[in-house]
Symmetry: C2
Subunit: 154 residues, 2 copies
């Protein structure tokens, strides 16, 4: 029931793991262009604009000519959104969360509840993956040992 997809930015679906969360935040400034933010977050500029359009970003500051100027707060928010994305939460639900944030303090309980159910979900997915790992390992050892493994038979 759980489908996972990996962005095509990496070759094939095996992600390059040694990414090291590369993008250090350039402090000392509080104004970033969209392409800088794209570099820091790994999201495309398109996606950042789209996030704003659908209400997943609080309204971003603009320069006097209308260009976006992202703040460190925006970067923090995007980092958090990135974590939610990793949990598998649909964008629509993240928008709901963002709306609750905008609605103010009376949504605390709801927000907490959402985060807690997310937490449960993450725990369950970890368990699923660990289970999958077991299956994978036993299959790999089949290949390691045997000259002909019984295929289609677990």
């Amino acid at each position: 029931m759980t489908v996972v997809q990996v962005a095509k930015s990496k070759p094939g679906w095996a992600r390059d793991c040694a990414d090291g969360d590369g993008h250090l935040r350039p402090d000392g400034r509080d104004q970033y262009t969209i392409s800088e933010v794209a570099d820091f977050t790994g999201l495309s500029a398109h996606t950042l604009r789209w996030y704003e359009r659908i209400g997943l970003m609080p309204h971003v500051d603009r320069s006097h000519t209308g260009q976006r100027r992202f703040s460190n707060r925006d970067l923090d928010w995007l980092a958090f959104v990135g974590k939610l994305r990793l949990t598998g939460m649909p964008v629509a639900d993240m928008v709901t969360y963002a709306e609750m944030v905008r609605a103010g303090d009376q949504t605390f309980a709801e927000r907490r509840a959402l985060l807690e159910s997310t937490r449960v979900d993450v725990l369950q997915r970890i368990a699923e993956l660990q289970d999958t790992l077991t299956v994978l390992d036993s299959k790999i050892s089949t290949y390691a040992g045997a000259r002909s493994a019984p295929e289609r038979t677990a």
Copy 2:
């Protein structure tokens, strides 16, 4: 970079976790109709036919009138495919794996390599999720303690 989606069969995106992998295999038989298999696996009959069309299933037996009759081996294969699906492997890659299986023994090394890279991927995703869990927990405790939490600030 990792996008995860959860099927709509469950209300919202929070999956019902207490599913218990319910569907016990009814042994003593080796012939199942498509709707039985759909029940056992949680996949829809549509999806099962689609899997066969795209080459993700070995050719399934048919009754004298042309209806599919799935075997226990098919069920085993579907269970394994389900595990691969959980890892986030795209369907196209699973088809590749299925093709290697059909190609026979000379693909052992490739198959093993694929499984091993999958394994690495799963390990990495588990690590990501554990990291996410940490963020979630610290955010939840913010909500737990404070009357007004600093939003957009991690």
